[in-house]
Subunit: 252 residues, 2 copies
């Protein structure tokens, strides 16, 4: 597993370099389901790069990935879960605040996860048998903080419509932050910059954070407290386990 | 004016260093008007440092500043407008995403502004007779982008209640971002990461961005299109002048 983790760290840096070297050129932007659901040629090319290198190194492993409907079931064998560019809107508009994400599962059990903040060159990695690091800095497990000294990360529309009482929870805190990328928002939870994160996301959006988070005292659950299905888009929360019951008192 | 601008750049770096050197210690956090309106001992000490150095160098100049009710009128003589820590909540919770801000006005006319992103060591400075820079990189004037390829920065509650139709505007774009600090949000407008910023803020929150923004094709106006009063907390927008009429078609 050590070798596979080392391979994954080199791989995600290669993907980040590929994006940085190519993002200066004109992007080809396509709209997927609607005008604000974007994909670029670089999302697709980066996913190709990731898959090609994984298949070269581990030909019998399987892939679940964001683009092109590559959806091997999480519970079946060795599965790499890939999000080539998480936060594509930020990538297109800001050229920053996006991440490459890789998670590795064996028969449904998370082994390690990686979230790479390309623009800031910060790699969050670990989980399973590995400690979690932000580059060379080891992240410490969650330490309790009073709600009224915290911030909540959230999908803008779930906050705005007080979905499941999320805004009622936010009202107990110092406020909400909307950063627009699931991966980096969950990285900020793991560094303590946010207490929790709520969004409506896909398996490749949460697979890496879930593994790392569990090592640090966080849980990734659906809003009704169940394990996510790794198959459909779901409304989920990424919260400190120790704070789960407190948070649930504010949620419908 | 060149000398004063050079002085201001050295001053804001000194203030940033002071914050960085002291933020590792235990902060004393006080609640001002309510539990989410915070001030720390470092806000106050940093403001003292700024005022002391300005008064040493320019004993006849005047001060308008966030803490301790120091509110010299903007239109009267030489006025330094100071926000020692903009984004105090981010400072307290995240130790990042806050700024020191300095603006310099003569008889109501903005001469230069500075916004210092302390944690990332990025100084946005210029305006008036000076070009605007982010550290050594000169910022270019606003270039038009279609609404549907932009992001809007906004105060969470103004977005959430669709204040003046802001959410209707956001619905024409790729979405909203809530970063929690006026200064850095307006810096992101000037770098093109956000199209516009809407919030309910004080003179020391907008004074620096207003001067720099005017040099780059942006305007800082109240939501009904008037000049801000530099005296009270107001609902304002920071938008490209070229996009103002388009934006106003969505606002009530």
């Amino acid at each position: 597993m050590e070798n596979k983790f080392t391979f994954a760290k080199a791989l995600i840096h290669a993907a980040g370099d590929f994006i940085k070297n190519n993002m200066v050129q004109d992007l080809q932007i396509e709209e997927k389901t609607r005008f604000d659901d974007l994909v670029t040629n670089l999302d697709k090319a980066t996913q190709e790069l990731l898959i090609t290198k994984i298949k070269q190194a581990y030909p019998n492993d399987n892939i679940m990935a964001e683009e092109n409907n590559i959806h091997h079931p999480i519970s079946d064998g060795n599965v790499w879960v890939l999000d080539p560019i998480d936060g594509t809107v930020n990538f297109v508009v800001q050229g920053a605040n996006f991440a490459v994400m890789i998670a590795y599962y064996e028969n449904g059990k998370g082994q390690f996860g990686l979230i790479y903040d390309v623009a800031n060159d910060i790699l969050y990695s670990g989980g399973g048998q590995f400690d979690v690091y932000a580059n060379d800095k080891r992240l410490t497990p969650y330490q309790d903080v009073a709600l009224k000294r915290t911030l909540i990360g959230c999908n803008a529309s779930m906050f705005s419509c007080n979905y499941c009482g999320i805004r009622d929870l936010v009202d107990q805190t110092l406020g909400v932050r909307v950063y627009g990328g699931a991966g980096l928002s969950m990285a900020y939870v793991m560094t303590g910059q946010l207490l929790a994160y709520f969004s409506y996301i896909q398996p490749w959006d949460y697979a890496a954070a879930k593994i790392m988070g569990e090592k640090l005292g966080y849980v990734l659950l659906t809003l009704d407290g169940k394990e996510p299905d790794f198959a459909t888009r779901q409304k989920v929360m990424f919260v400190p386990k120790q704070k789960l019951s407190t948070i649930q008192t504010y949620l419908d």
